[in-house]
Subunit: 146 residues, 2 copies
């Protein structure tokens, strides 16, 4: 569905959000450990998200990553996905036609569209803050414990 980069990015953002909601700034090492992702690769993704202004970073001691209250409230899953994977999967044709349109639709087009639309809606209507709360309340997990 999403790329590994995107999966890590989303999980990281949610974890950072959860901690930011509690006023805690978190470092890369901590993040990678808590979401079970490769540290250096996660760093690259977080850099992208910082550049896209979807989260905030601070250098030096006591530094790390955080989400401002505004970011927590307004940044959506969709923004993360677009920043990392681009819009292709949110707009592209299911069968890989160069563009998805009703002019020359693929044979799955009309069946596929409503599902893709629901996915778009899902991503558009969920903020990092909202998902972070869910984790905070123990209703969702960012890695699996055995």
């Amino acid at each position: 569905m999403f790329s590994k980069a995107c999966e890590y990015g989303i999980r990281a953002a949610i974890y950072i959000g959860q901690q930011s909601a509690g006023g805690r700034r978190v470092g890369l090492k901590d993040i990678a450990a808590e979401i079970d992702s490769p540290e250096a690769f996660t760093a690259k993704i977080l850099q992208q998200l910082v550049r896209a202004q979807l989260l905030t970073s601070v250098k030096g001691p006591t530094g790390g990553f955080e989400l401002t209250p505004e970011q927590l409230r307004t940044v959506t899953l969709r923004q993360l996905v677009v920043a990392i994977d681009g819009g292709a999967m949110l707009q592209g044709c299911a069968l890989g036609l160069p563009q998805c349109s009703a002019q020359q639709p693929c044979p799955m087009h009309y069946q596929f569209l409503p599902i893709r639309d629901q996915l778009n809606e899902l991503l558009r209507t969920h903020t990092i803050g909202e998902l972070a709360s869910k984790v905070q309340e123990g209703l969702g997990f960012l890695k699996q414990f055995s």
Copy 2:
């Protein structure tokens, strides 16, 4: 969404199905031209599908690929996807957790599940023959003309 291999595989299968419905067996060259895919790569994918018995091939002059009436009627999109991409995207967690389950769900789990289920249902309930008819009737396309 799907891999390139899967996109080519589905488009190819539908085209072969369309021709088979008219009693015509088709060769690789023809297929690749009609669905706008790289010839040699498409060959690899078709080999997989033949091995999985989702379509049939005949060697030699007048040879090529075809779908038996039974294959046309019974082979689903889902079978193609599973044969090429594996079941990961049809069962895996949206955020990449090692497994999707209600025991330790990711924060998107309950929102994501219905969409994934619809996608599964979509793939499960559409046969190659059905999609081939759509193309035959001019209601769907396997490549785009400009």
